[in-house]
Symmetry: C2
Subunit: 308 residues, 2 copies
């Protein structure tokens, strides 16, 4: 048997995007995992190499393994697949590390199976891997990682994912402070109830953001990037959140907020010049702290998971 | 002085649209008020005729009067304006009766003043008239009445109104049962707090609706026309709500809900054929009740308030 091998890029993603809590995400360039998938004679999914993270090799305990197995089982081919994982996105960074593994694994297995599923269909498999990491089948990172661009999760039951266009001059800048925030802790801070007034304002801002993305109205995008429900509660977990916010707003960012459940923060910007200034502003604030950090500057990744 | 006179059409509107509670509205054809505006030598605004409704003639007690006066005062011209009001939209019907008066008055006065303000600017004046009727400066009927099409109120402070495109084959059918629901009573039924889960689902549906309107994706529009926050509480005020809902869904409507604060109900439909069937379905349900009613079938009115 010819040992076919493919290499896959699994990009990072920003979920929530302020007013899009739990329903919106976007795919970015500049940082992502790599995975290698290889056909073998022995049936089943086997993880044979993991670099860049201390993760379990047992398929059923590994996010990529669970997602890969789900796709594999749906077809039950006569051959096996072994996987090498090269993690670049740090776990717990808030830019979709587990989703990159899950989406990449589902995509890679599907490729070796001869593409029986569309990318959209693969999301349903990938979120089973994501569930291992986050406790529920969240798709707000998985969907943009898989499809690229902005994605809206209108509904989970049934899963209804809508691709939203990304304006060409939109840039994202992500600041990742090297501290750990457990998703469970970030979830526990949320109030189970919110005021109707804030819920209405949040929905109006999300609608404005969607309209801004369809019309490439950067100012509307900026005006809409407000989070009434979550940021006020969660920002306490993120050191120097307000200082970074002030810095990037002064540097001309359209909007700023928490990426996923944090600790990463993100800014959206019009044009690369402003994105560079926002990058500098983030560096200035965090260079004066004792916390090590990374900054990623990126246009929107409109391809999502792809073959290398 | 030449006694210039104009006649204005002030269309009805559907606010809320399920997932768009308090932020979205749409303008319809087929029913609307008419108003006549006439320049006079005597300074000030004077309401000289009201037909079709029992409303006060005192400018400061009349929705149209307040809106007209606000625009008039901003310019303070050397002439006066007298107004005739021909109400066709019944007060308390839930299809923007007071907003039609307010938007029409602001528009008509602005025309006679030589159009110092844009239609969007006039909304800021018209909501002062609307506030006389509803107790607050709501724009979710005023904005679509003024501008036509679908309008999003992203924010009130500052007022930020976004025009959303209307797909060409979208039809609205409105059933107006001749019962009275006081807006205050409809408001009192609302809970001041909602679950975060429902708020997130509502925002996802609104985002889906906006995406569907931009892409003319009628099925997505239909899937998104869900109201998790308000309909479950308010539908009890509307006789035979569930029966009408079942009827119009069986007839092929994309979605169905409460128009404004009720008692009117609306359905959105793809194409006139389906709209006719939905019209019939509404008639069948309400013909078997003792409540008199009207049904209006209409394409989306994309012009808003206009000169006749």
């Amino acid at each position: 048997m010819y040992m076919e091998e493919i290499k896959v890029f699994c990009p990072a993603t920003i979920a929530n995007l302020n007013c899009g809590f739990d329903v919106l995400g976007v795919c970015i360039n500049g940082i992502g995992d790599e995975m290698i998938f290889r056909k073998t004679n022995q049936k089943g999914i086997k993880i044979v190499k993991i670099e860049g993270a201390n993760l379990p090799y047992e398929t059923h305990l590994n996010v990529a393994g669970v997602a890969a197995q789900a796709v594999y089982n749906a077809i039950n081919p006569s051959f096996g697949i072994e996987i090498e994982i090269y993690k670049k996105i740090k776990a717990g960074s808030g830019i979709g590390s587990s989703s990159a593994s899950a989406a990449g694994a589902a995509f890679g297995v599907n490729e070796l199976l001869g593409k029986p599923f569309t990318k959209k269909e693969l999301i349903g498999f990938a979120i089973k891997g994501e569930a291992l990491a986050s406790g529920s089948e969240h798709a707000d990172n998985v969907a943009p990682c898989m499809l690229g661009g902005f994605t809206l999760i209108r509904s989970y039951n049934p899963l209804d994912i809508i691709e939203i266009p990304a304006p060409k001059s939109l840039y994202a800048v992500v600041l990742h402070p090297h501290i750990e925030i457990k998703t469970a802790d970030a979830r526990a801070l949320l109030s189970p109830n919110v005021s109707l007034k804030n819920a209405v304002e949040q929905s109006g801002n999300l609608a404005g953001l969607i309209a801004g993305l369809y019309t490439s109205d950067y100012q509307l995008i900026g005006r809409s990037l407000i989070d009434k429900l979550v940021e006020p509660l969660r920002k306490q977990l993120i050191p120097y959140f307000d200082e970074v916010k002030t810095g990037v707003e002064n540097a001309g960012a359209l909007g700023f907020g928490i990426s996923g459940a944090g600790p990463s923060m993100f800014a959206l910007c019009y044009g690369e010049d402003t994105a560079n200034k926002v990058n500098q502003a983030m560096n200035i604030v965090y260079s004066n702290t004792k916390i090590s950090f990374d900054v990623y500057l990126s246009s929107v990744n409109t391809k999502g998971v792809e073959l290398l």
